[in-house]
């Protein structure tokens, strides 16, 4: 009994399988009309099945042939459809023509489908590399999950400004302009003619409403801004005035291109829980794309044909649809890139250098490091633990690390060694070359050994590793989360090269959760971190490196708990320096760099890349270093749409 059931089940599956393959490979019915000469054994029903896709459509052949017979007597006249003779000339109409003669549909459709169900390749951009889990929400105020619905900020909800790291310029976006009218007042003009995707106009009231959410609810990420922001008021419909007491200019301007504006008329009725924790399905924004659909492994966005920037700025993103794919592993992503199924991949794909050289994919630079730099990998040293509380020891570690091996071996040349100050190339103007020349570091084991010897570290017990000046053994661990393969390779290099210089460091890879706890509670020895995003201001990096005050759980920076009031004062001073005072910023940065390189509380090692590889098969005009194409960040990661990602889309062209 059960055996028979199983046999049947097997048969059903086998049938399904053949059906599926059959349907996929069946030739489509003829697209144009054709003449047909009857052969022995033909009948109208099978002819209709063969050429029109359904038996009952034989009436179309009858009707069309008879009609043509009226003008051209070489065609047969069919009086009785069940009686046709060999040699008769029949007219088989095209599908549109056939529809006139029959009421039943010519090509069998299982169900009428109201919406677009197959996206034409030439209208669709396939991207990957942002998401690491299924989509969970479209709420622009839940920042940490936006990777999974990348585009929620940038494609749907927009920011007042954009920022272009390659030219270091804020680009007025929803705002037409903005300026500091005095030291404590910022005035912003909103563009006229922006509409939300439900047709309502965007006004100053929406901007005020969005900013005031931060005042009302502590769980909104920009609520700390209200520590120095006194009021946000609408001046008429299209101007907004911000009034401050002792503003942190750097933070405020960084937020200008990160806070996504939401429509007041749809959000004012929401509860605190809905605003801070709501999934916000079917988001209504002002942006270039609209939410279309999603499933476990993809998000689909469709172009907003009424986008304001088309009218006001003449911009129109080329792809009608964006399908954002989440691949479960980088191997699969690599396969999809090679097969040309993905147009833009922002996955980290080791070995992409070879593929780029062979012309399978394009990258921003034609040669090493192939990728733009996105953030700095910094080795944090726990300054509360000996011997890392000794600046001399920390400096020795800096000289002992073979960054060249990290770049060449661990990354196969996909990254670049970092500037000793840690500032990204896009912020190079804030690096003080004199300070770097005097205090900078590079791989030099001999120098590392000398610094150690001068500070009293020597190998007492003859095991090849130095002991602390007080004679205690040094055994340290350098960590990164398990599974981050590139970093796991890198910490191996760090451990090996430090050991070669006589410092006993071993690598370890705890699970992310355990690593994160050690990081934030300060129980680690040395660990890698790169949580400062590409930014318009050096303050973003220094806010990560020297976050203060030092509290029980350091959730967002200064993980090594480096406690130096002089440094904290300098960072605060930088935050409060107006951004148009570039010289003032440089002066503070120079002091920070001098102190940092002397004390070496953490060691900037290399720049993680803005991983991006693209295919020219369907879309062209991708950003590269070449002169005749756009210079943008080709990036779909959340937070990068407003740093070049969206503008890349507006400049794409369909391949011929």
């Amino acid at each position: 009994m059960s055996k028979r059931t199983l046999v049947n089940l097997f048969l059903v599956f086998a049938m399904l399988l053949t059906l599926g393959v059959g349907a996929a490979s069946a030739a489509p019915p003829a697209q144009e009309e054709m003449t047909y000469t009857v052969k022995l054994g033909d009948n109208l029903w099978t002819l209709a099945e063969k050429y029109l896709g359904s038996g009952p459509a034989y009436r179309a052949i009858v009707g069309a042939t008879n009609d043509r017979n009226a003008t051209d007597s070489s065609f047969a006249k069919i009086d009785n459809p069940s009686l046709i003779h060999p040699g008769w000339k029949l007219l088989i109409p095209g599908p549109e023509e056939a529809a006139k003669y029959v009421t039943v549909p010519v090509v069998v459709e299982v169900t009428p489908v109201p919406e677009v169900v197959t996206y034409p390749r030439s209208e669709t951009l396939y991207v990957s590399g942002a998401a690491w889990g299924p989509p969970s929400d479209w709420n622009p105020f839940i920042t940490w999950s936006k990777a999974n619905t990348t585009g929620t900020i940038g494609l749907v909800y927009e920011t007042l400004f954009m920022y272009d790291p390659l030219t270091d310029k804020l680009i007025p976006w929803l705002a037409e302009s903005g300026e500091w009218v005095d030291a404590d007042t910022y005035e912003l003009k909103l563009r006229k003619g922006i509409t939300w995707s439900d047709g309502q106009p965007m006004t100053a009231a929406d901007v005020v409403f969005t900013y005031e959410l931060g005042q009302k609810y502590a769980a909104i990420w920009f609520s700390p801004e209200w520590a120095y922001l006194d009021s946000v008021t609408a001046v008429g419909d299209y101007a907004v005035r911000f009034e401050f007491t002792d503003p942190l200019y750097q933070q405020f301007e960084n937020d200008l291109y990160n806070i996504a504006m939401v429509p007041k008329h749809l959000w004012e009725g929401k509860t605190e829980e809905e605003i801070t924790s709501g999934a916000n399905e079917n988001p209504v924004g002002s942006g270039a794309y609209l939410y279309e659909t999603h499933s476990e492994d993809r998000n689909v966005w469709v172009r907003n044909e009424d986008w304001w920037a088309t009218k006001l700025l003449g911009l129109k993103p080329a792809p009608k649809r964006i399908v954002d794919i989440r691949f479960a592993s980088n191997n699969v992503a690599l396969g999809a890139v090679i097969k040309g199924e993905v147009d833009l991949s922002n996955n980290f794909l080791p070995g992409i250098a070879t593929l780029s050289e062979k012309g399978y994919v394009k990258t921003y630079f034609a040669g090493a490091p192939y990728m733009l730099s996105a953030n700095t990998a910094v080795l944090f040293l726990n300054t509360t633990k000996p011997p890392m509380d000794d600046p001399a020891f920390r400096r020795a570690v800096a000289f002992a690390i073979n960054t060249g091996d990290i770049v060449n071996v661990a990354y196969a040349n996909l990254v670049k060694a970092a500037d000793p100050t840690g500032l990204l190339p896009s912020l190079a103007k804030y690096v003080d070359p004199a300070v770097v020349k005097e205090l900078g570091f590079s791989y030099d084991p001999a120098k590392a050994k000398k610094i150690l010897a001068d500070a009293g570290y020597k190998d007492v017990n003859g095991d090849g590793f130095v002991e602390a000046p007080d004679g205690s053994k040094i055994e340290l661990e350098v960590t990164c989360p398990f599974g981050w393969t590139d970093w796991m390779e890198s910490i191996k290099v760090i451990a090996n090269s430090a050991q070669a210089a006589g410092i006993n460091i071993k690598d370890a890879t705890p699970d992310y959760g355990a690593w994160n706890t050690a990081l934030t509670t300060g129980t680690f020895d040395m660990t890698l971190n790169n949580w400062a995003m590409m930014s318009n201001t050096p303050w973003t990096l220094y806010n990560l490196l020297f976050r203060h005050p030092i509290i029980e759980v350091m959730g967002s920076g200064n993980f090594g708990r480096y406690d130096n009031q002089q440094m904290f004062d300098l960072v605060d001073q930088l935050a409060a320096t107006p951004s148009d005072d570039v010289e003032g910023m440089k002066a503070v940065c120079s002091q920070i760099q001098e102190l940092m390189l002397t004390e070496m509380p953490m060691i900037p090692l290399w720049y993680n890349g803005l991983w991006a590889q693209y295919s020219d098969a369907v879309w062209t005009n991708w950003p590269t270093e070449a002169a005749n194409v756009p210079s943008r960040l080709p990036c779909t990661w959340s937070g990068y749409w407003q740093m070049g990602g969206l503008l890349t889309l507006t400049e794409l062209k369909l391949a011929e």
């Binding site: 055996k3 199983l6 089940l9 919406e115 197959t118 709501g278 499933s295 689909v300 396969g335 949580w531």
Partner: protein
């Protein structure tokens, strides 16, 4: 019979209670802090982290004493509330599971059933058939000993990348929106085939070898020799041997079916096929207490149901159990 069932059910309820308690405890013993982990993913903006940490710890009910959390958990469970996922905040756990599990059922159910059926048939057939034993069975050994990850990658590479017959990712074409048409069904089956085939092959090898060894053991048993001595035809002897040999295989089958809701992690990763296995891994790595609890709750229920089904099935298919039970109640 009633006493037998009553005792079994009592044991199952007790096991359920204990298993769910352990399921609740284990994630909380893991190092790490779910809310901190969650916030650390939003690398963009450092400023608000301290305030948000307190807010979301309260929102997840993690600010009350641990015994209170445990009581709250049971009370919510009896109201059918599995909580909110931390990893996929703000989705409810029940919804996360309901969205992902159908993919696994679609993949695993046919793979398990067909491989079990075909593997047993083949194993029984191959046992003591010299040329099959010597040629095809080694292939079964190789299949079942193959690291699954490797086999999967090999299949994906050969049929997906080199030959390009099958797609290498997704549950259906990335250019399609789910709808009822042959194109869509064809796409679903095409995407389904490689992951299915890889699971089928490995499981098939396992079942076939198990069955073959079992049959040989049964053919050596006294009753087989007795039957042979009586001059029973080879087919009849093998039929009796098969009926005895199938018993452990039934246990194996139901255990396999019981953990269907755990998904097929490696398959999901290798073929980038959606499913719950990958989510469970992520939930564990992210200390998502609620998603871990929810997933394992269903796994516990699945395993217990499967065991219960075996208990019942044995009564039906194995006369010895039936007799033993009667002796017990008599």
């Amino acid at each position: 019979m009633r006493r037998y069932l009553g005792r079994k059910i009592l044991i199952y309820i007790l096991t359920f209670f204990l298993a769910v308690t352990i399921d609740w405890l284990i994630p909380r013993f893991m190092p790490g802090d779910p809310v901190q982990t969650m916030l650390s993913r939003g690398l963009l903006h450092a400023e608000g982290v301290e305030v948000m940490y307190g807010y979301y710890t309260r929102a997840f009910g993690l600010d009350v004493p641990i015994w209170q959390q445990y009581l709250n958990f049971w009370s919510a469970l009896f109201h059918g509330d599995l909580g909110t996922s931390v990893y996929l905040f703000p989705q409810p756990v029940a919804r996360v599971i309901m969205r992902a599990v159908p993919y696994d059922i679609f993949l695993l159910l046919p793979a398990i059933l067909l491989s079990w059926f075909a593997g047993n048939k083949f194993g029984a057939f191959a046992a003591r058939t010299k040329w099959l034993d010597n040629t095809i069975l080694p292939i079964g050994y190789i299949l079942t000993a193959t690291p699954y990850m490797w086999l999967g990658i090999l299949l994906a590479w050969a049929f997906g990348v080199v030959l390009g017959i099958f797609p290498i990712a997704g549950a259906y074409g990335f250019e399609l929106r789910p709808h009822l048409s042959w194109t869509f069904i064809g796409s679903v089956l095409k995407h389904w085939f490689l992951p299915f085939a890889s699971l089928f092959l490995v499981k098939f090898g396992g079942w076939a070898i198990g069955m073959r060894n079992m049959i040989i053991y049964e053919l050596e048993a006294d009753y087989s020799h007795y039957l042979e001595a009586l001059g029973a035809p080879r087919k009849l002897v093998r039929k009796y041997a098969f009926r005895n040999a199938i018993l452990p295989q039934i246990t194996g089958l139901s255990l396999d079916l019981g953990v269907i809701v755990a998904g097929a992690l490696v398959t999901e990763v290798v073929f980038s096929y959606p499913g719950i296995g990958y989510l469970i891994l992520q939930a564990i790595q992210n200390q998502d207490y609620f998603l871990i609890q929810g997933c394992f709750l269903f796994i516990i229920i699945g395993v217990l149901l499967a065991n219960f089904a075996i208990d019942i099935a044995y009564v039906i298919v194995d006369p010895r159990t039936r007799l033993g039970m009667m002796g017990e109640t008599a």
